[in-house]
Symmetry: C2
């Protein structure tokens, strides 16, 4: 112990004893910079990331109970949160959940039939999707308010992509096979995202991209409803505005039946009016929740009474009754289209998760609890895997139904179970009643759900805050509208990543000045009161990764600036540039090209008789500068911890030139 202290006294620069305790700056902190411990190596970081992915998470339920049994319970609770909250579940909560579940079902049944229509499947498949996935989610999910089932955007996405492989009109059986395969694969992807902590993949779609994408998708979905609303027989399979406009225009030459349009419009107005009332008078919100079901009932009765189907009003006709049939045998993992299905599944999985997590998070934050993103993904994936085996297509959290569920006072996922049971009963008993339901009323139900997806106010605030983000938003919007859903997503992703790359290619190089009477150095552009010293130029490199893509640019900017300073200062000889301090506190990492760039700056400055000093390089950066012998060439005495020390070091070195400022 004594010998190590003696060693510390002998090497004062590198150890804690280098500081005097009188409260002033340490005598030298350069040793501190150069002798910091090694940062974790690439291998260690990889091991850390992988290890973290497979280590089970701490659960707040495991309260130190001893033995293997407690561990198993904790693990089970981690997978099935129902085991956790189920023990404290009360009758009062159950009553609330039953009411919420029934309200949810009244909205969910007509929406499910409409979305199935959008997904180009028979109506019952939408209802199937409202039975199995909610049940699975109810025991595995961590959100209490989310309502699981078919949603508009995913239905559109699925049909617009799968119908490129097989036309649902000519070969519905193969189309369904592909849909179930996509659903299965999407579930697998979602589970693996959750298991391998790949949740960041969902982040690839930025906030702005989602706003633009959802807006575009809503308009596209709305345009698709023109078929039902106008009662057209011929329609286009494309989703872009131009194709739809052409299809509608050419259909106008055919004879058409205003009955469809009349039914659709009047019920759309009815639903929107009830929603307006529901928003105005909070107590009447149930009116907006049941108005779609009411519309279905009323319109069906009206059609049946007037036999309007004989006069051109399109009706649903046969809906297959009974519980979900098994579709295990329809999942084709060795089929000829498996690769295409996998591609579609990735997109569907990401979009479905994006929507579910966005919906879940926003309601969780209202209620003041936190969602576990990875668990949500696993729960969602398992729901879809189970769904794909029982004739369901991709389900996720629906925004409109979750809002209704929340308003109806749902306390837990039990409301999802109640809804699933209600839908199941409906499937068993009431399918025959849907025979005379007009297609136009389904279109009006879908249309009424769309305004929630178009967020003009958010787009406007994005425009105000960040023009590049607005470009991403606009790209996604226009891409979806005039190209296709995938093109919209592709455009948004491309602009987003280009933005990051551009940010890396062209980093700022800021000239720093001292705030009068302090040791604070800051950008003279950002803080015009900061004051530069002519003899010592302080330049900050504003990138966290000095690398091949920006090393030359940074070098040129710094040399340009120094050259300009040298040229002007030549006129006043006593203000000659003597030192350049590079503030590298923002530079976290550096690569070999960056090291070469630093050395070139040093060489160029030396050849002009200017000393270079480096202040506060990041952990990885200083490590690599040592390994790459940049520190040796620049000189250990020219590496400082802070800018003010570097400036003082330069001042001491070039005695006689006092600070003018």
């Amino acid at each position: 112990m004594e010998s190590s202290m003696a060693a510390a006294v002998e090497m004062p620069v590198t150890t804690v004893s280098a500081f005097d305790v009188s409260g002033r700056r340490p005598a030298t902190t350069a040793g501190l910079v150069l002798n910091s411990p090694d940062p974790p190596s690439l291998r260690e970081e990889l091991v850390g990331v992988v290890g973290k992915a497979f280590r089970p998470r701490r659960t707040s339920g495991g309260d130190g109970g001893a033995g293997r049994c407690a561990w198993a319970l904790t693990a089970l609770q981690a997978v099935f949160p129902v085991l956790q909250w189920g023990r404290t579940y009360t009758l009062k909560s159950f009553r609330s959940d039953v009411m919420a579940g029934l309200t949810l079902a009244s909205l969910g049944i007509p929406q499910s039939i409409g979305y199935a229509n959008l997904a180009k499947l028979d109506p019952q498949y939408g209802l199937y999707t409202s039975v199995v996935p909610p049940l699975i989610y109810a025991v595995m999910g961590t959100s209490r308010e989310i309502a699981i089932g078919p949603v508009a955007v995913v239905s559109l996405l699925l049909s617009s992509m799968v119908q490129k492989i097989v036309d649902p009109a000519t070969d519905p059986v193969t189309y369904r096979t592909l849909v179930f395969t996509v659903t299965f694969l999407a579930g697998i992807f979602q589970v693996s995202f959750g298991l391998f902590r790949l949740g960041f993949l969902v982040d690839f779609l930025s906030h702005a991209a989602i706003v633009g994408f959802m807006g575009g998708a809503a308009i596209v979905i709305g345009l698709q409803q023109l078929k039902g609303l106008l009662g057209l027989s011929r329609f286009t399979n494309s989703t872009d505005v131009v194709s739809v406009a052409k299809a509608v225009f050419s259909a106008l030459h055919d004879p058409w039946h205003p009955g469809n349009f009349f039914i659709g419009c009047s019920f759309l107005i009815f639903i929107l009016a009830t929603r307006f009332i529901g928003r105005r008078y909070k107590k009447l919100f149930w009116l907006s929740a049941i108005s779609p079901l009411l519309s279905v009932v009323l319109s069906t009765a009206a059609v049946y009474a007037t036999r309007a189907d004989k006069h051109g009003v399109k009706i649903i006709r046969e809906v297959h009754a009974g519980l979900n049939p098994s579709s295990v045998k329809q999942i084709q993992l060795n089929g000829p289209y498996t690769t295409e299905c996998a591609k579609i599944a990735v997109i569907c999985a990401v979009i479905a998760l994006t929507e579910a997590i966005a919906v879940g998070r926003s309601f969780a934050s209202i209620r003041g609890y936190k969602l576990d993103g990875n668990k949500e993904m696993i729960a969602m994936g398992c729901s879809n895997i189970a769904g794909s085996m029982s004739s369901c297509y991709v389900a996720t959290g629906s925004f409109s139904r979750t809002a209704v569920n929340f308003s109806a006072g749902a306390r837990s996922t039990v409301s999802n179970i109640v809804m699933a049971i209600t839908v199941f009963i409906a499937l068993e008993l009431f399918m025959k009643l849907l025979y005379y339901t007009p297609m136009a009323v389904l279109a009006s139900i879908i249309l009424s759900a769309l305004p929630g997806l178009i967020d003009i106010r958010e787009a406007w605030s994005i425009w105000k805050v960040d023009k590049m983000d607005f470009l991403i938003c606009l790209g996604a919007f226009i891409g979806v509208l005039f190209g296709s859903v995938e093109i919209g997503l592709g455009v948004a992703l491309a602009i987003s990543f280009a933005k990051i790359i551009i940010q890396s290619i062209r980093p700022q190089v800021e000239v720093l000045g001292r705030l009068q009477g302090t040791n604070i150095f800051c950008s003279v552009r950002q803080y015009p009161v900061a004051c530069r010293t002519p003899a010592i130029q302080v330049i900050r490199i504003d990138t966290s990764f000095l690398c091949f893509i920006n090393a030359t640019f940074i070098k040129e900017r710094i040399m340009e600036w120094v050259m300009a300073e040298v040229e002007t200062s030549n006129e006043k000889a006593r203000e000659r540039v003597q030192s350049v301090v590079l503030d590298m506190s923002n530079v976290v990492n550096i690569d070999t090209s960056g090291l070469v760039g630093l050395e070139e700056i040093h060489q160029d400055l030396l050849s002009m008789g200017i000393q270079m000093a480096i202040a506060g390089p990041g952990w990885q950066a200083i490590q690599k500068m040592k390994l790459g012998h940049v520190v040796d060439r620049v000189g250990e005495e020219w590496i400082f911890l802070t800018v003010s020390e570097a400036v003082e070091g330069c001042l001491t070195a070039h005695k006689g030139s006092a600070m003018e400022c």
Copy 2:
């Protein structure tokens, strides 16, 4: 004037008068952060970049001469640097340049013939390429030592890519047409890179990628020489190791003539031996420079004397004599392959520029002058455009010949002119003498130039400094070796950009501590002597762009850390976490997703009863935080200029809890 001063007194927070001049910290700097001027908008920045691209550069030659004539001279000098240095050119320099030019020609002629062979063109096309491009470069280039002409890597690149469109063996006329088209387009690309300041495109190939790529290309080129060295008639068109090994193996079953191998090996040993001598005794360096020409002369004489071509030694045979014919009519810009040609041209243009600028810069730094990258690109592009019209293929700066030119004492680009004239004379007079030159000696000349391209020492130092960079290097190397040249480049680019994206996805979040007795806060991992205060946690966000791709990650990391701290500190009640200071000095920019993330952190901390403070956000970041109303929600009083002020602010707010450390 007086009124403005009065205003300044009335608003002390926002103006210079806020500082007391006693040398201590300003009373409050928060106003400084919040009232900084607006950063340049996207439009202003774009205008700046575009304006800069088209504004003529300052030239040091324009010494204030009045009138339009002086301006025109300056502009001319900017385009043709020869007008600048030509005026001070002396007879002594000319003598040095003539000697250097002749030495260069003696190396250049055999190399040009060999590289033409590598490019699958007739020998004279290599010589043509050594005539026109050097002449154009001589009047436009800014490097004094560089030797322009055909080089190994570009020859390989060109032939390996063009032969995928047309087989040079079966249709040499179309092949040549495509080669000239590619050369023309490559020139156009290079000129436009220079004009539009797109020089950063050359930076896309990082240092590590170039080391790996050059090493792989050298081995591939060496393997291609097995055809000449073994005198094989059948050979593969693929460049990868596996195909070449197969081709050699299958050729071994044919009868082969050891004469070729004997000639090739003996002259390879001769050239390498002279180079060794030249390195050992600097005065004999000319021996290594003329040894390739000497080898050609000796081997030709030997073959002619022994009539070895009758015994299976492959010879060049007919070489077309005379000056470059025009090839203007062979440039096809409307042909069926123009798109493919453009793709190849981009790759060739970038690789050629990369090599030329690397070569030029390294020698310029030895001589102590600076290259103008954009001018170099224009000069190189013009050389290639002129070359494509006179039967040349893509030319660039050759490393081996530039080294010889430098060693031979070249003072200016006049040595290139002398070389071009010498090659021209050779083309006119001596082509008949090449009839009996054995192919094996060409192979040995190319092989002797390859060791310079393989830089094992640099690869080793890359491995030591940066494992990720080594991965890029290895990717390029293996890609070229086992795939193709384009695959190698693609792999290197993909890993490089993935590296940047990964760096953005997973930024560090560092916990800061105070260096005892100072106001300096630094990472406790990097500087273990730094000391944390339990009540106030300081966390630094180590990314320059807080955006959609990392906002969630950063939020989770921060909240994880705070949760862990809260859990441990609950045991000791008096050390409860009261505030979290986010050091955002590294965050230069932020997007809307980043703003959402910041707000969520604020909300989450608030719900735990913890106050959040923000220190030193960057210029764009604070601007967007103001626009996005994050500042309003966090509270203006919780935004500080520096971490130490933020910590003090938090301490003052929660009186009673003293700093323990």
